[in-house]
Each structure stands twice: as structure tokens, then as C-alpha cells.
Amino acid sequence: MARTKRPVHRAFLSGNEALARGAWQAGLKVACAYPGTPSTEILEALATYPELDVQWSVNEKVAYEVAFAAAVGGVRSLFACKHVGLNVAMDPLMTSAYTGVNAGFVIVVCDDPGMHSSQNEQDTRWVSLYAKLPMLEPANPGEALAFVGEAFALSERFDTPVIVRMTTRISHGKEDVVIGEREEVTTRALEKDFRKYVMVPGNARVRHEVLEKRLVRLKALAEKTRLNRIEEGTRSLGFITSSVTYQYVKECYPDASFLKLGMSYPFCDEKIRAFAKSVRRCVVVEELDPFLEEHVKTLGVRFAAKDPSWRLGELGPDAIGPIVRGEQRKVRKTTSRPPRLCPGCPHWATFSVLKKLGVFVAGDIGCYTLGALPPTSALHSCLCMGAGVTFNEGLRRAHPDGPIVGVVGDSTFVHSGVTGLINAVYNKSRGVIFILDNRTTAMTGGQNHPATGLTIRDEPTRELDLAALCRACGADHVDVVDPTGNLKAFEALVAERLGADALSVIIAKHPCKLIKRKL
């Protein structure tokens, strides 16, 4: 874990651990998240600092609101998520840009170029443009530690949430990092400020103007800040780049000149213009979308950018030469072994029954998504968190008597499956929803959630009773069974519920094999 007991001043930390250390050093008080690769270890590392108030929230919207409100309340706070997790929190995010903060508030988002463990490859840099929020992009764990401190300072100076964007290679890369001590920050007063915190149209119109003016001031800062650094090298070749891509380019062209952007939004137009003019050939190199490229195009300078084929997938040191030479991306056939359900995983039993029945299985995000791959091949849709429940309803609206079921994990059900269940009951949908209850958030490495009855620090708390919750939602039948026990009886139950004109929930409850190993 992030902290060693030895009094070391250098530690070997992942980007996530370094970011957590930096936030702790900056006087952080409250941190909230829902687990999601590659962001999960940020909260796990923060939980090792006993002076912090840290929680797994039920989903990203809740996490965002709790952490943001803590900042409004006057303490430095942080919200962390993966790229698709930020989508869930977009509602509070967009308007929090209007209200601003009180004490510092930092949004950490971890993108997953190459989709090592994600359902899409969205580039979160666009969120900064869309929400009009400043964005910092560390290029390695050391910068993750330093930049989060800068982000808190910026947040308070400009009265705004600040986004820190990481990627898988920064979050899960490790390096030796210089660590420091904690700075204690005093709690600010909570003020009743109707015009600032009550976003009704009359106030929001005024705050929108505040937001636009703030953006102009931030743009001026972008020109001056050391976060946007020029490294003078040869005049014949210069690169404008950011994030881990900087490291790849620096490795391949150590003698070139660099404009290394640590603050990627708002853009530092004058610095970019001056740099582009100072070198004979200027190349913009960035991972995923043409975020920098599209903007630099508007500045009227000559530069080259990557072939559009490189918008797919993650970059690496091998990509840089071909990009600089203007070549297209060659897709290498992957021979890597796909992941699969672990031997002895309780999901095997449920999937074997569903496969035998030949039903369409609507699923979503979790270990059970692996049920879609051979040899089970028994899950037929995966879009986003909680969709196992809502897909069952939607598909049944197209095929009312279709052989359709929905599956959702225990953690995912609490995250966003329960709203779908309430909707299905309210709108008189039928069918069978399986809650694959393995007593943990398994895919991200086994995190607690409300139905485990344990907090992020394994402290006992009131356990959410999933069966009682489903009954309260109005499901006609709620059965709690161990699918690995009597398989014949389980199969008979599923067939009976499937044949009934009712909305049933079957909680297939058996703990994940990996939980004990963790303890």
C-alpha cells in the first residue's frame, strides 16, 4: 500500500498512490469514489491515512455530490473516478462549475486508452472544454503528487472545481517519488450565500457570467504557469504534447524542443504560437482524440499532427516514430489470452443454467461480463452500469413474451440497478432479474459496498438488505438462493419464475473466491 512505516523520503509509488499522497500532503479532508479501473487505488491509498474522511459511495453522482458539498462546507475534498464514471457524475459537475467552491475541490478522472478494462475509450479532455473547468495532466507519478497540490491551490484561488486527468499508464505505472509532509489547512466557514449556491435561473445567469470571466483569468494564468513548460532543444524539431505521451516522445527524441502542457485547458495560445514559430518543424503528439490538434489549428501556425488512424488505442514508445513520419497505424494481431471467470467462481452456476434455458441475458459491468466470452458465452448485452435491469425491461417492450432475463451484480445493483427495478415495477414490466451477489465489488479487486455491511476501512456498518430492498421496490417474488448448492433445484426455480406472469428477483448469493485470499 502507499504508506511504508519506514521514515522514507523517497517511495516507490504508482500514479494513483502518488496522487493520494499529494492530496494528503495538501491538507485533504474528505474523499469519495465508486471503484473503477484504473482509478480504484486512489481511494484505497487515501483510506490508509487515518486522519482522512474517506468513503466508497454508492455511485459516482453520489460521490461527487458528497465530496463537492464538503468543499462548499469548507474543507479540501476530492472525488475520483474512471472516465465512464465521470459520465454518471456529469449532472452535478456541470452546475458546480457555476457555483464554484469554498475550500478546494479536485476531480480526478482516469482515462483508459486502449480499453484495458473499460467499455469505451472516451477522451475526458473534452469535459474540461464542455464544462469550462481547468484541467491539469500529470505525465508521471511524481507529477501526479505535485499537480494535485497545485490543483487545490488553483481551486481556491479561482473558486472553481479543478480536473486532474490521469491515464492507465500514469495511474498504474510506478516510479520513485519524493514525498513530503502534510500541510494542515483550517476549515473555512460555511456561509449561506443564496446567489452562489442556489442555482435557480436568476442566480445561475449571474454565475454563468462569473464562469466566463473566470475562464478568461484562467487563460491568462495558462500563459504564465510553469505547468506549461518549454524545454529548449534543437530548433529543427519541436513537439507540443502532454500526459504520458510526453514521456514516449522524450524517450524517442531526447534532443528535440518541447512544449510540455501540464495544464491542458484553458489553452495557452500565445505560448503555443511562440513555440511553434521557434522551431522549424512543429509536431503535436497526443493520445486518443485530436483535442490539442483541433485547437492549434485555430491559431494559424504551421504544425503537423498524427494520422487520424492513431485516434484509436493507446500510444507507446513504438508509435512515436511512425506518427512523426506521418505514417498510418498498423494494427498488430493480438494473441493475448482473454480474461475469463475464475475457476470456482459462483457465476459459473448461474450462467450454466441460463445457457441451458437458451434465454437472452441482458448484462452490464462487472466480473459477470466475462460470462459473455467462451466457454460460457451466456451474456448478450453490456452497455453500462445497471443496464442489466433496464435492458430486461426495454427488450421486453419489443418482445413482451420473449425469453429474456437481466443480470446485475450486487455492487452494480446498488450503484444504478435499483432505479431500474423501481421503474420496471412502476411500469408493470415482467421477467426475472438476477442479482449475482458475490458479496463484493469483484472486478475492481474486491471493494466493500452497502450490502457487504463494511466500510472502505472494513469497519462494520448497517448492512443493506438486498432482498428487503427488492421487496420494497415491489417485485412480485424475491428468492435468495445459493446457485452452487443444489443446481437442479436452482434450475427448477428459474424455470418456474420465468414461466410466471410476474416480475421476479432471484438473488444468487455466494461469496467471490477471492475475498478470503484478500483478508
Binding site: 499508464r169 498504474h172 514521456q247 524517450e251 480474461p339 475469463r340
Partner: protein, 161 residues
Amino acid sequence: MNIETCNVVLGGIGGQGILKASEICGWAALYEGYHVKKSEVHGMAQRGGSVESHLRFGQRVFSPLVNRGGADFLLCFHEEEHPRLKPYLRKGGRDLLRYLDAARKLVAQEPRALNTAMVGVLSRELSIGEAAWEKALETVFPPKLLPFNRGVFFEARAMER
């Protein structure tokens, strides 16, 4: 100190302890005074899929990933993963696959320690002193598991070449 950057690729399948192996090597390089970078992927890949970890250390390291054809050492934990990982090895780089069977035999009683045995094999090849390896093992293993793993490490380190 060796100025040239040393590049190691470790790989196998989820559950073999590859990330732990590269963690030990990373700490050892750090204790030896190098600048270290290590890169790997958590999450879905660890559910029995392919796992690889890249480790680079030297005076100053930029990229956390090793180039194809850039690895000085390849430490492969599974024969079936070898063809996929082989292209990382540079010309003249050392492929330590030939020690995999011997390492397996060494930990036949406790197969989960294969990672420690393979690190012992690799340790002989790197410019990292024994004291740094000792400290790295102490850092990574909890006290209860340390004596056994230290034993495995040094037995593998002394293995016939």
C-alpha cells in the same frame, strides 16, 4: 552506477504473481539508487488473461513502456505466453525462459512462490547488489511470508546456470 537504462519485460497469465515479481525488482532497483519506472495493467486482465509488466531503471528514464525489440531481459512465467512476449527482446537480450522448469521444480511444494523463484533467477543478471535485494524482499513481503520467500529467492539465485 550503470548509466545505460536497463529494460526488463515480465509476463505470464493472471494469478501467477507477475506484478509482485516486478514490484520486488522495482524496489531493489530503487534501493540500489536508480531512477525506476514500472508499468502494468490491473483489472480485467488479471482474471486469468495475459499479464505483462515492464520495468526500466537507470539514471533517467522517460517512457514507462519498453520498445518492441528493446528489452534486455525477458522473464516469462508461462510457455504459451512466450511467443507474444518474445518480440520485446532486443538482439542479444537475455531470454530467461530456459530457467522456468528449474524454478518450477524448486517451488514444487508451494507453486505460488514461482514468482519469487523467477526473481531470484533474474537477480543474477542485473546490476543490483545483494543488500538491495534483501531490503526489497523485506519491503514487499509481510514478516510471516518473508523467511520462506527469502529462502526461495536465494536458492534460485544460486541455481546452476
